[in-house]
Subunit: 652 residues, 2 copies
């Protein structure tokens, strides 16, 4: 939240996020080629008007700084930007007009009374709204058209003469630049893995003719291989770039592997989030709504960074007119809606809800325009009904999409009611869709949801059934049917993507299967650590070894080795083992329902809105401390209110 | 039209015009301040995909040049931009992906067989259309993000020591830069008039601290005054910038004043049109739909430049989603629609009609959304019902707007039928609107249209009545009533703006009042020449003298002295005195119906599509030659077909 008395850079709300999101989606690089995201990409408004009324008790002076061309209007008289303007006491209407033909139109007003704090409106000459701002841009000397990264020099942990060149191992994932002290030009071959860096032909990033003065593009890597070079010939330094963020969370237990998983997951999420949640730091570097949705859940249990969440939601949604589904994927648009609800439940941020609500509503209306007589959402030409990379019967309308739409209706009703909006119409939509979902997609014989009813194949996959658990679409009886007939039924095709594994593990935990999920943590994430991972991968198949481990999408190094959803153990541990969750928006009330039988000793701190919860398990004793009121500890069905900063101790 | 075998720069259709139009609307400057246009401004798409299929009979090579980041995809394999790509014979699908974060994404393909000629499609990932291009960008070394102006050095016609400084008179309107040879820094004070340049405090443009190396901003001026300087101290040279255009027209007669009016009008239109028709070169430099509409009509009788017309229509319309009316003015949007019809009638250009038609149709649909139960179009919040700067009863719906809407319905029906579109629904809209216009707005007692019927005032102004004449809404009987009761009735408030004078003179000529209009030419435009005008002004009031002549909109130098609509004598002379007009699209048929009794001797050449018409009057003999077939000469009601390049001679 903006401190109302501090000046900040202002813009048309959403424009900073949309403009920087556009830049982000153009940052992908592969083998000397730029690879723009393959969907419609919005940019910020070019022409913006800022205005505010003051009733001045005394005369005052102010100066408007701006990125762009324009002028200041005070009570109908024009003044220049960047020059001090004197105002007499009395009613004063100020307008600032700024156009920027290439970047973000933005202003900063320096003054005692008149300044760019909260209270300014911004207009794109169609819609007028409270001006937008960002916590990162509070100084008059800044320019919100650029990102100010903190830098950290990283020295190679090891240098090794191989293949007639030198391999540098920085021992960690670096997202930044490289400087070279060299006499002659050299070639830099990058790799997230050693194998990739040493593959001079096929490595993803390569830059030739690099001298000491060459501007080296920002890239993500752990290794750099310099061919045709000897140890000592050159000096290579990496400069990691990042936006600092606070991490209130920690996790240590008697299982060192789990501890390492927590820490590597934290590093992974940290790297995949600067301004926005991106999928991965090497490839794609794009903002995908599905990936961001999961990052949002993980973030809630680690950095609790509300700003990245908000920026990502605004960037994904783009300008008000909807041209196509997010990343072209219908289910991603629907997850975005649920992400708004989760952000509100996590933060209780009504101000942001006010900003996002019109965009939320038009998004839901966009869905409604593509529903049929049963209320089922269907894909139109150029819509991608994705759900997952999996064999699925997608003939006609698809069950998984309907369950997301149900949750979207719940979202708009919940958010709308918070803001006092008229959301009466959505309940009927929900009821119709729910009734028809159960009528057409629930199969009594199989005790599960089928993918499609129109095909007649009555094929069952896990996806819709998992969503039904997560979004409380079925009663306890049907939950148990789904657990038995689908989730624990090996005859049903396994989930093969880490993207959907997130949802599956979440559902399993929700049904009390923490023990199974704990084994998955040890095997799947532990398996990556066995292979020397310093960040978690996009995908891991224990049966693959050597070079094969790095291939994906038909590319020998197509797999991203630092991928946001790889950090999901944080969410699973925090949400389902420690058992922390908000029960009212912004953790006004929250509960801790630990399921820690896998641990003998454990010490964890997890964030809540405006505070932390500390949970300590020492053999058969559990100590829980919340720094804020509102908490309830639930152990063995016993509920106990938590006093702020008073440790509750219970036997377990 | 594109020569199908020449390579050109390609972009998403409309993007070049929208992007350059955006830049144009940010070029206004006043007293050290930028003055962005005060409406919503679109920019081009940021992310574009180009594609084409070839069936190659032999192997070939090509190279894709691009402004932006991206890659080339040939049958599913990625290749770099700017590098030669080899293709084997056979079926070949080529896609080029280009993102540009600041400017226009555009490509040029160099190759023997595969090249950027006609046949490429462009997509913004929502809509796929034939790629756009422009006759100005045909060379691989160009960049459509910039405008390549031709320059012309202009030496001051006179230097004069006044007011302790030196006044330079360049003797003509210059739109360009200034270079100064000077020992110390000087101040440049510009003026379209001597009075303005010498007003060091209040002149519109001023630049201080100018040395020999200062980059001086492009401005429009005739005079430059350098204060605190003596004759010989410095050397000042102007560099006029322009895009060359062909002028097939000429006009000489025994009336030297009329000849001079024609030539100064030509100069005025020439200056107010480089890429686009703008209102004026000093102020506003914006693309106004009303001004552009009139420039389009004048252009048809002088430069016949189809490209400026097309660029202006595309820039004004912007991206497909309509955010607001053009320049916020409802009647300007409606004039834009009629401008599309006029462009088609002038050029017969079906290719352009195909490009603009979807934008035309959505514009007309936008109007329909703001019609009431009578079919009358009304203004919504933030809509500007302008019509003219005049006392007018604008309560409720307004007659002038309804007449424009009638012509818009005619436009969509005519254009839609050319392209075989379904336009059946518009006739009913037209019929309802026509019926209600006559029922509610025609006043039988006054024999004229009233402004508003809802107010009960039954007030008559000229505007709706003029439009009714121009757009053939009334029969001959009512035309004569309007002529008598309105146009020639001094009790009806006079038209005071040159903008609407254009329409009034046009209507008077249409009703055979050429003799009156001839007097207006001599008095109004001749009056400006008497005051030393080298270009025609935004407005001229013969009663004003001295400094007062230059004031407008409350600004001492707010009047534009080189304003596009000032060139209207060209249209009036060509259309109504020489009497040339197309009677089928693209002058497939055309007529010449001279009304030249004001002239004893006259020699004029006027453009038609793909040719010219030469009309010579020598006392009582008229000689008419058309370079193309399709013409009909009409003299005293006698019709005579014109053979190409065969001079028809008739007594007059």
């Amino acid at each position: 939240m903006l401190m109302s008395k501090e000046a900040v850079w202002l813009w048309y709300p959403g424009d900073f996020e949309i403009h920087q999101g556009m830049l982000q989606n153009f940052k992908r690089e592969e083998r000397g080629m730029g690879w723009p995201a393959y969907w419609y990409i919005d940019d910020c408004n070019r022409n913006v008007n800022f205005k505010r009324h003051y009733d001045l008790k005394e005369s005052t002076q102010f100066t408007v700084l701006a990125k762009g061309t324009g002028y200041v209007d005070v009570n109908g008289t024009k003044y220049r930007l960047n020059h001090a303007i004197n105002c007499d006491a009395g009613a004063t209407d100020i307008q600032v007009f700024v156009g920027n033909v290439q970047g973000l139109p933005t202003i900063y007003i320096v003054g005692e009374i008149i300044k760019s704090d909260s209270g300014w409106l911004a207009s794109n000459f169609v819609t007028t709204l409270p001006a937008g701002h960002d916590i990162l841009y509070t100084d008059r000397n800044q320019d919100p058209n650029g990102i100010e990264y903190r830098t950290e020099k990283v020295v190679a942990k090891a240098q090794q003469a191989v293949d007639g060149g030198v391999l540098y191992d920085f021992g960690r994932a670096v997202n930044g630049t490289v400087t070279v002290k060299t006499n002659g030009p050299v070639t830099l071959c990058y790799g997230e893995s050693e194998t990739e860096a040493r593959d001079v032909e096929m490595c993803y990033y390569k830059q030739s003719d690099v001298t000491a003065t060459t501007k080296v593009r920002k890239r993500a890597f752990r290794y750099v291989f310099v061919p045709h070079c000897q140890l000592g010939d050159i000096e290579l330094t990496a400069m990691h770039e990042y936006i600092p963020k606070n991490n209130p969370s920690s996790f240590t237990s008697d299982n060192k592997l789990i501890n390492q998983i927590w820490n590597v997951a934290t590093e992974t999420l940290n790297l995949c989030s600067d301004l926005f949640f991106i999928d991965g730091i090497k490839r794609d570097r794009w903002i995908w709504a599905g990936d961001a949705y999961q990052a949002n859940f993980i973030n809630q249990y680690s950095f609790f960074n509300e700003d990245i969440d908000k920026r990502t939601l605004l960037a994904l949604r783009g300008q008000d007119d909807i041209k196509q589904h997010m990343n072209t994927i219908v289910d991603y648009s629907m997850l975005w809606v649920i992400g708004v609800l989760n952000h509100y439940q996590m933060t209780g941020d009504r101000e942001f809800l006010k900003i996002i609500y019109p965009k939320l509503e038009s998004m839901v209306q966009y869905f409604i325009q593509q529903t049929n007589e049963h209320g089922f959402i269907y894909g139109r030409k150029n819509d991608w009904i994705f759900v997952d990379w999996s064999e699925m019967d997608k003939q006609g309308t698809v069950a998984a999409e309907q369950i997301l739409l149900l949750e979207d209706y719940k979202t708009i009703m919940t958010c709308g009611e918070v803001l006092g909006k008229d959301v009466a119409g959505y309940q009927a939509k929900y009821d119709q869709l729910f009734k028809n979902l159960m009528k057409y997609f629930w199969d009594d014989e199989q005790g599960a949801f089928i993918d499609s009813y129109e095909s007649g194949k009555r094929h069952v996959t896990r996806h819709a059934n998992i969503f039904a658990i997560l979004f409380d679409v079925v009663d306890e009886n049907k939950q148990q049917l789904i657990l038995k007939n689908v989730l624990l039924n090996n005859a049903i095709t396994q989930i093969t993507t880490p993207y959907f594994k997130f949802f599956e593990q979440d559902a399993l935990c929700k049904l009390g299967e923490q023990h199974r999920v704990y084994q998955v943590l040890l095997d799947y994430w532990g398996g990556m650590l066995d292979r020397g991972a310093v960040t978690f991968w996009e995908e891991f198949d224990p049966s693959q070894h050597g070079k094969d481990m790095y291939a994906m999408y038909g590319d020998p190094y197509g797999k991203s080795l630092c991928h946001a959803w790889g950090a999901s153990p944080i969410y699973l541990l925090g949400r389902h083992f420690v058992g922390l969750r908000p029960t009212a928006p912004g953790y006004q009330t929250f509960e801790i329902k630990p399921e820690l039988s896998e641990f003998h000793h454990l010490h964890t701190v997890l964030p809540i809105k405006g505070g932390t919860v500390t949970v300590v398990k020492d053999q058969h004793q559990l100590s829980v401390t919340a720094s804020r009121a509102g908490g309830t500890l639930i152990v063995d069905g016993q509920r106990q209110s938590l006093e702020p900063n008073r440790t509750a101790v219970v036997p377990v």
